[in-house]
């Protein structure tokens, strides 16, 4: 497993402190982050691949300072956003998955084989040449996940990947997450998804208020939200 370290990390937006002096070492395979809206979960998750640079403190991935080695870190860290619509950047399903591989400079046959394998795995093979914008919400999120995994990242960070989905599609995405071998950091309100995780972190107003195995951390969270 990779090691993600937060060392005295704070982040301030114009209207205040959003992440407040967080120190963490994440080495478990599956890590969940929960907390109320606005508690700083997205900001924390975004720091792992350098989409947000902390105003103080450092974040490192396998010893690489994210602020200074953003590109290298982003090759190791795949990111799944809440709204797949804005993560999909190419017109068709196959092209969008292939887009991830552009930076890998593979020969065309190898790249095509990898794209096909991922499309197959996510049940998207029949939709490969469809316009991505005509997929259903659940299929779009599967595509977003497929497009991340084809790059073979060591870590996948997902920020509320199921929040915009109906219950059935949310469960389907969750099942796919369960089959991943990659190290996972998932922000979610879908608590049953996190029950099988190795570690759950509870955030409140930019601070970590509970941290541990899900059976403890999720109870603490339920108590917190009453």
């Amino acid at each position: 497993m990779s090691a993600i370290r937060f060392d005295g990390v704070s982040h301030r937006f114009d209207d205040g402190l959003v992440v407040d002096d967080v120190t963490l070492e994440l080495t478990e395979r599956r890590i969940g982050i929960v907390g109320a809206n606005g508690s700083g979960k997205s900001t924390l998750a975004r720091m792992v691949n350098g989409l947000v640079t902390p105003t103080s403190g450092t974040v490192t991935v396998d010893g690489l300072d994210v602020a200074r080695h953003g590109r290298e870190v982003r090759r190791r860290v795949g990111f799944v956003f809440t709204n797949a619509d804005t993560q999909i950047v190419m017109p068709t399903v196959r092209e969008d998955v292939a887009f991830t591989l552009r930076r890998h400079r593979l020969d065309a046959a190898t790249a095509a084989a990898r794209v096909d394998a991922v499309l197959d795995r996510f049940g998207l093979a029949d939709l490969a040449d469809r316009p991505a914008h005509r997929l259903s919400g659940g299929q779009k999120q599967l595509l977003a996940l497929a497009a991340v995994l084809v790059g073979e990242p060591a870590i996948v960070v997902a920020d509320e990947p199921t929040t915009l989905l109906d219950a059935r599609n949310a469960r389907r995405i969750a099942e796919h997450f369960a089959t991943l071998d990659e190290q996972l950091v998932v922000v979610s309100h879908q608590l049953e998804l996190l029950e099988s995780f190795d570690r759950v972190i509870v955030m409140e107003a930019g601070r970590i208020v509970a941290d541990g195995p899900p059976e403890h951390a999720l109870d603490a969270y339920r108590a917190l939200i009453g």
Partner: protein, 197 residues
Amino acid sequence: MIGVYHPGSSVIHRMPALAKLALLAATVTATALVGSLPALGIVAAATLGLFSLARIPVRVAWRQVSPILWVLAFAVPVQWIFAGWEAAATMGVRLVLAVALAAVYTLTTPVMATLDAMQVLLRPFARWIDPDRVGLALALAIRCVPLLADLVREVLEARKARGAEGSLTALAVPVIVRTLRTADHLGEALMARGVDD
């Protein structure tokens, strides 16, 4: 242009995108220069031949070409009145041919192949412009059309639901705000997906 690729394995599908683009440009230019209706008739027959060679169903072809007929419904009568029937017919046929030939291209060429072709074309200018960037910008532009269309539709529906149908502010403000937010998200996604590499 968006998502209209019609998969197939015909000769036309397999032809390199650059060659197709060159032929498209040459033919459209030729039809613009050729004035005689019989000559245009030959091009029209050849264009039909291309559609059948590429095995494009009539329904699919029609969907590509029919929108231009709306334009012609206005433009042809106007041209007829001011320049006579022959000029009107020539213009109408030229326009339909240009659209139909372009449709043959887009129906048989994946967007990615077009982008790769553009990058090859731009390579001599690589000192001044980054072909990768241009290709990406074009792909994004294509991708953004349905994104914006959805956004406008949602805002229109919301405006209707709230009984503000006539209000321009109730359309423009949310559309602009949401467009900017979408652009932000898209920028983040591009960064996460390694565009700065």
